[in-house]
Symmetry: C2
Subunit: 290 residues, 2 copies
């Protein structure tokens, strides 16, 4: 491999699952990374990542994994990111950049940035991509192609480190959007966290509806199943997200509840024109993102 296009000579991927594994595959395919070292608490997953060629080697410890890395990518549960950063800091090479793929940014950036020793850098990131599957088996090189990746610099962020992170995501095929971490958290509260809260509550409400002796969910057709697919997401992950982005989630839940109450009053009043207008506006917004 020619080193001319290399952005990162030694990349450490902490957590080699769908997100970390796909980034490793994408960057290798793009020819922008020298060596890839993987670290994973799940030893079997790490062995498979090595066998599949997703990483060049698996490190036994965080210390060994990040040693000599010029860039460390964290794809671990979002609640765990600050603790992992704290643990790996003593082993970082001079000039190393630490970045992440966590789906909450405000608390993560606020916790991690002040930890970094002089000459090392933290840059927050969040690729808007994923599937409902997990593990290195689920990873693929084109996961990020044509997707947006939000990178959340602060006024203190090193411009060169920021440029490296941006170029990496671009090499993976993403369109990079720079955004304040606070704004990011409000945005994902709206387009991702709120829908999950709604889906979880909807399934529990329908299941808990006790007018029928028999389980009414068995009458559900494809529409209900599609609509509630995201309620099958990992409960521990969503617990963490709800806790980490509490303010944004609460704000959007209240915002939604107000619209839902408006719709309820249109139904209760039998307001045909108002109902059709409400549904039509929604359909037009929805159709615009098809």
């Amino acid at each position: 491999m020619s080193m001319s296009g290399v952005i990162v000579r030694r990349l450490a991927v902490i957590g080699v699952g769908l997100i970390g594994g796909s980034l490793a595959r994408a960057l290798r395919r793009a020819g922008v990374v020298g060596e890839i070292v993987g670290v994973d608490l799940d030893r079997d997953n790490l062995v498979r990542a090595h066998e599949f060629g997703v990483v060049d080697c698996g490190a036994e410890t965080l210390a060994a994994g990040v040693a000599g890395a010029d860039l460390v990518f964290l794809s671990v549960p979002v609640c765990a990111i600050p603790a992992v950063v704290r643990d790996l800091i003593p082993h970082l090479a001079p000039g190393a950049i630490v970045t992440d793929g966590g789906s909450v940014k405000g608390e993560v950036v606020a916790a991690c940035e002040p930890l970094m020793p002089p000459g090392t850098h933290f840059v927050g990131g969040h690729p808007i991509a994923g599937t409902e599957h997990s593990g290195v088996e689920a990873s693929f090189a084109t996961l990020y192609e044509g997707k947006r990746c939000i990178v959340t610099p602060t006024p203190r962020t090193d411009v060169t480190a920021l440029g490296t992170v941006v170029r990496l995501w671009e090499a993976a095929g993403s369109e990079v959007v720079l955004m304040d971490a606070e704004k990011h958290d409000r945005l994902v509260a709206a387009i991702s966290h709120l829908p999950h809260m709604v889906a979880y509550a909807l399934v529990n409400a329908v299941e808990g509806y006790d007018r029928f002796e028999e389980g009414i969910l068995r009458y559900s057709a494809g529409g209900f199943r599609d609509f509630t697919r995201i309620a099958s997401s990992d409960p521990a992950m969503w617990r963490d997200i709800a806790l980490m982005n509490r303010e944004g989630v609460i704000e959007m839940m209240d915002h939604f509840a107000a619209y839902f109450a408006t719709l309820r009053s249109l139904v209760a009043a039998g307001d045909a024109d108002g109902l059709e207008r409400f549904f039509r506006e929604s359909k037009e917004s929805r159709d615009a993102i098809l």
Copy 2:
């Protein structure tokens, strides 16, 4: 075609779109119907239905369409069903059965049953099947295969007429469930009408969230698009459903709102165990219907 398996000699389909066209195709394929006459306000649609062989002939008027039919199937907007029944009654053959595919049953059955002259019969029905497409082009013979069809007899329903309707849906491949119309309306309020209300409100809430100058929906990934697909449904149809099943829809909206408020208080309290339990119960219910 042998007439030995024939359940209906002359079938009139009023509204030859996805629902009516698919039933016609399925019954013809099953060899249980002699002649199929179509009626449709959309003349072009009716011409295509004839060209495609979905109907043997298209009738110019409701009177001509139902003349001599032993079974009339109504697949017209649910609000229009009682008026159409009123219009076709003078032209019904003795012994004729009128049935429908409307997604609200209580008001429809209560309005239509008393209209029927002696010796003719109304039986309410609702196949739990469909796609987001419409028109006779969207119809196909296997739409009802393996799906449930709810038929809603009353204490006054003629048993022979009921048996004919049940055998028709079974011939189309459906599993028929007999249910009180009121219970049906509560059930579809839960598994279909509530999810639509939630999806419409969600899209409007997210679109109306004005913290960002730019349209935040453009950041949405596949999960949001899948989740909100049903918000692209026909506004006029859903206006009618919300009006016709107002009581059931309101009850389920309030039921959902209570669960949503519980989840909101778990988030606000930062109750990690409570959140994980809420999400896990939902995931278990959802995974059970995969």
